[in-house]
């Protein structure tokens, strides 16, 4: 069914706007030539032709695929934070469905969190993930647990886990409460060269909180948790980074205070990186009350797109850390723009209907985020809240560099992982159409502007918009320009 690209065959995707922040490349019209799963050349038509002419051993004529000029071609997106639920919670998501969701969202690399059942804290479980990820629609890189069973008691066998392919360590979802264990984790991981990733949250301060503490939590009578719960933990961790000199990555920042702490730590030269999710950039705690405030709602209104009101206590807004205030969103956006925040990561957290079809306090935390990330974020670009190069960098080369991953770039010789999107296409989010088993999105029914059209992984098309041609390669013979 899928038309694959043969060995030594050269395919040239051409005609779109090309953006590759890793090479500071921005072409109004250009393309990329691919052979054997890698990038052969990138540039303008003339540059591509010149590069191809220099090849003497072409077996077949290069296949030129023309793309509409309004499309944007970028390196495939790199997500440092996703929950794929397998093994253990396959009703929520599997590695295969999660990877398909990634491909639909333009992500070609996803790092999966270890809070599975069993926890990813052994070489055997990492091997299982690698096995299940074979032939998946995205590269799946495992993050291993900091502590055995994510219990916060004893360190996992980090050296073996590193050897077995772990790209980072995290007890995500279960913040490392013990300062001593965190110190030991950082110290032990330091020579391994892998970052320790913290879910910054002081559990004692956060208590039974289910949403951001503020006027909205007061209105809804829901236990809130203060922004300080994140800031306190991050400040502690930064002190421990200072002590150990180890690589540290702060997951899903949600507060203005956390952005300031990271900015200060970077200025000090600490080996610190950070990420933010699309929902923390875009949505506010008012969404819990069904009210549409914050950057996304404002941007969509400016674009003339309808923003239907939501339900009070929509459990799809329940996420950890919680949606904060417009002020926090603004600080986070500035953090992405100025590079304080390295990466935009989805924290894709799929759940079943049953996990969410209950009272707010009882519902599971998490948003299914892979398939709406780009479109949501583009609203910020369309309304000049965020620049397109900063957005693409935060989805590609910056996360890759943060964790030393050989991705996020279309430099010649790189893996041909790429994303092609139409920044102007309007579509209405319908979770029923998600590839992810997790239909839990607060954006259901919201119309967004911008859509992934094609995703390529290692030189092969793994996703193409429009269901009827899904899975087919982008060869589209009638599209051949010459």
């Amino acid at each position: 069914m899928r038309r694959t690209i043969g060995p030594r065959e050269v395919v040239v995707l051409h005609g779109a706007r090309v953006l590759d922040p890793s090479q500071r490349l921005a072409l109004p019209e250009g393309g990329v030539a691919i052979r054997d799963g890698r990038v052969l050349a990138i540039g303008t038509r003339a540059q591509l032709e010149a590069a191809l002419a220099g090849l003497d051993e072409l077996e077949t004529a290069p296949r030129w695929v023309s793309l509409p000029a309004r499309y944007v071609l970028t390196p495939g997106f790199v997500d440092l934070h996703a929950h794929l639920r397998e093994p253990g919670y396959e009703a929520k998501e599997t590695i295969q469905t999660g990877a398909r969701a990634a491909a639909r969202g333009g992500f070609t690399t996803i790092c999966c969190m270890p809070n599975t059942q069993p926890v990813l804290d052994s070489a055997a479980t990492l091997a299982l993930v690698a096995e299940r990820a074979r032939s998946a629609a995205a590269r799946v890189l495992p993050i291993a647990a900091i502590s055995k069973g994510e219990s916060g008691k004893e360190l996992s066998e980090m050296a073996e886990l590193a050897q077995a392919g772990a790209v980072a360590f995290s007890d995500d979802g279960r913040p490392v409460a013990s300062s001593r264990l965190m110190r030991l984790a950082l110290a032990y991981a330091e020579p391994l060269g892998l970052p320790v990733v913290e879910h910054c949250q002081d559990e004692d301060l956060v208590g039974g909180g289910v949403m951001n503490e503020g006027p909205i939590s007061t209105m809804l009578g829901l236990p809130g948790w203060p922004a300080a719960g994140e800031d306190v933990m991050l400040a502690r961790d930064l002190a421990l980074v200072r002590l150990t000199g180890a690589k540290y990555h702060a997951a899903h920042l949600s507060t203005a205070g956390a952005v300031a702490l990271i900015r200060q730590a970077k200025a000090e030269g600490l080996p610190v990186t950070a990420e933010v999710t699309p929902h923390h950039l875009l949505l506010t705690d008012a969404w819990v009350a069904g009210e549409r405030t914050g950057p996304l709602a404002d941007a969509l209104r400016e674009l003339g797109l309808p923003v239907p009101p939501g339900d009070r206590y929509d459990t799809n807004t329940k996420v950890n850390p919680p949606l904060r205030t417009a002020r926090d969103c603004q600080a986070l956006i500035e953090g992405v723009e100025d590079g304080t925040i390295d990466a935009i990561a989805t924290d894709h957290a799929p759940h079943t209907w049953v996990d969410k079809a209950c009272e707010y306090g009882e519902a599971a935390f998490g948003i299914s985020g892979l398939e709406t990330a780009l479109a949501g974020l583009l609203a910020l670009v369309h309304t000049e809240r965020l620049s397109l190069p900063a957005l693409i960098a935060a989805l590609t080369i910056r996360p890759a560099r943060a964790w030393n991953l050989p991705m996020g770039s279309l430099a010649p010789g790189a893996q041909a992982d790429l994303t092609i999107f139409d920044p102007r296409e309007d579509w209405t989010v319908d979770p029923a159409g998600f590839a992810s088993l997790g239909k839990n999105t607060p954006l259901a029914g919201v119309t967004l502007r911008g859509r992934v059209r094609e995703t390529w992984l290692g030189g092969q098309s793994v996703y193409r918009a429009d269901g009827d041609r899904d899975g087919e390669s982008a060869s589209a013979d009638t599209d051949l320009s010459e």
Binding site: E213, G214, M219, G221, L222, P223, C358, E359, G361
Partner: protein, 338 residues
């Protein structure tokens, strides 16, 4: 002018009062002063009906289910009496006696009860937002009989009714809500109703029992219908709070709050915030004393205050039936009329 009016398309006046458009009673944050006044008038009428020991048939043929996930005596009985007085069939479901104990979800329970013929759901739950959830998934009418820390609208309506009867109107009156406001759904609903009717509400509690950013919340939310500002202030000093008060509403202090570390001791709470005869002397002469019950006499309120001449605590309970009749008739009665 008249001729012009006649030439226009005839405007169809709704048969039911404006408030009958409302299907559920979830909270009072979006109630207009007009709606509240309409309900108070209807409650007066219901009082007269009760005095005449009359039964109405507004809800005849409808099945009202009391779905209670938390213990309650007065609210449940009050809704039951109100429903009966309007001719409804009543059934009571309590969490411990139903399949709720077997883990059946609220949505399933609601749908099951609906399949059994229930059309009016009175729900109490420890979970904020449970009535909203039920309202989204079933037909019929949902009345919130208290959910988590969120809302207890029928209580606030009966409080407003009681206050209005004594004060004429609450507009411009200083009403102090004293005690554990952080965990109080009664306080939250009362603030919406009282401020909508123009009262000046003073929240008085130790800082650890105040809801976060309350002032920011109420200043940002104008009264629907009129666009008036809501007047809410916070006063952690009980003497200053009570000075010049027209009414004081004391709230129940649960012992768990002390165990959770929000208070050093109940003793200190009583010493600092207990509603005593001496403190009541700071309020306006004849100021009213309210309590939503159940009371911890000797903790948040001195027995002499609770049963004193200024106390309207029993009246609150009594008025509850008429007010709930009015609420039920307003929501569910429209269909019967139509």
């Amino acid at each position: 002018m008249r001729a012009i009016t006649r030439e226009r398309e005839p405007v169809t006046e709704p048969i039911a009062p404006r408030a009958a458009i409302r299907r559920h009673l979830l909270d009072l944050d979006d109630w207009t002063p007009d709606e509240l006044s309409t309900l108070l008038e209807s409650a007066e009428e219901m009082c007269r009906v009760r005095l005449r020991r009359e039964k109405l048939s507004v809800l005849s043929g409808q099945v009202l289910v009391n779905l209670f996930y938390e213990n309650s005596t007065r609210t449940r009985v009050s809704f039951e009496l109100a429903g009966r007085a309007l001719g409804a069939d009543i059934t009571n479901v309590t969490a411990s006696a139903s399949s709720v104990a077997k883990g059946e979800s609220l949505i399933d329970t609601g749908r099951t009860l609906q399949a059994l013929g229930a059309s009016v759901f009175v729900i109490r739950s420890g979970q904020s937002g449970a009535p909203d959830l039920l309202a989204r998934h079933i037909g019929g009418h949902v009345l919130n009989a208290g959910d988590g820390w969120h809302a207890h609208p029928s209580q606030a309506l009966l409080d407003l009714f009681t206050l209005t009867r004594h004060l004429g109107s609450v507009a411009g009156r200083r009403i102090v809500i004293l005690g554990d406001i952080l965990h109080s759904r009664v306080a939250r609903s009362n603030i919406w109703a009282l401020t909508a009717m123009g009262a000046e509400v003073v929240l008085c509690a130790p800082p650890t029992l105040l809801p976060p950013e309350a002032i920011a919340l109420y200043t940002a939310r104008l009264v629907p219908g009129t666009g008036a500002c809501r007047h809410v202030t916070i006063e952690t000093n009980v003497s200053r709070a009570l000075a010049g008060a027209d009414a004081v509403m004391a709230l129940r202090l649960q012992k768990e709050r002390q165990q959770a570390g929000l208070l050093p001791s109940l003793r200190e709470y009583t010493r600092t915030y207990g509603l005593t005869v001496a403190r009541m002397a700071l309020a306006r002469p004849g100021a009213l004393v309210l309590h939503p019950g159940p009371m911890n006499e000797g903790v948040e309120i001195e027995p002499a205050v609770a049963s004193g001449a200024q106390s309207v605590i029993e009246e609150q309970v009594e008025n509850g039936v008429a007010v709930r009749m009015a609420a039920l008739a307003m929501l569910a009665g429209a269909e019967a009329v139509a």
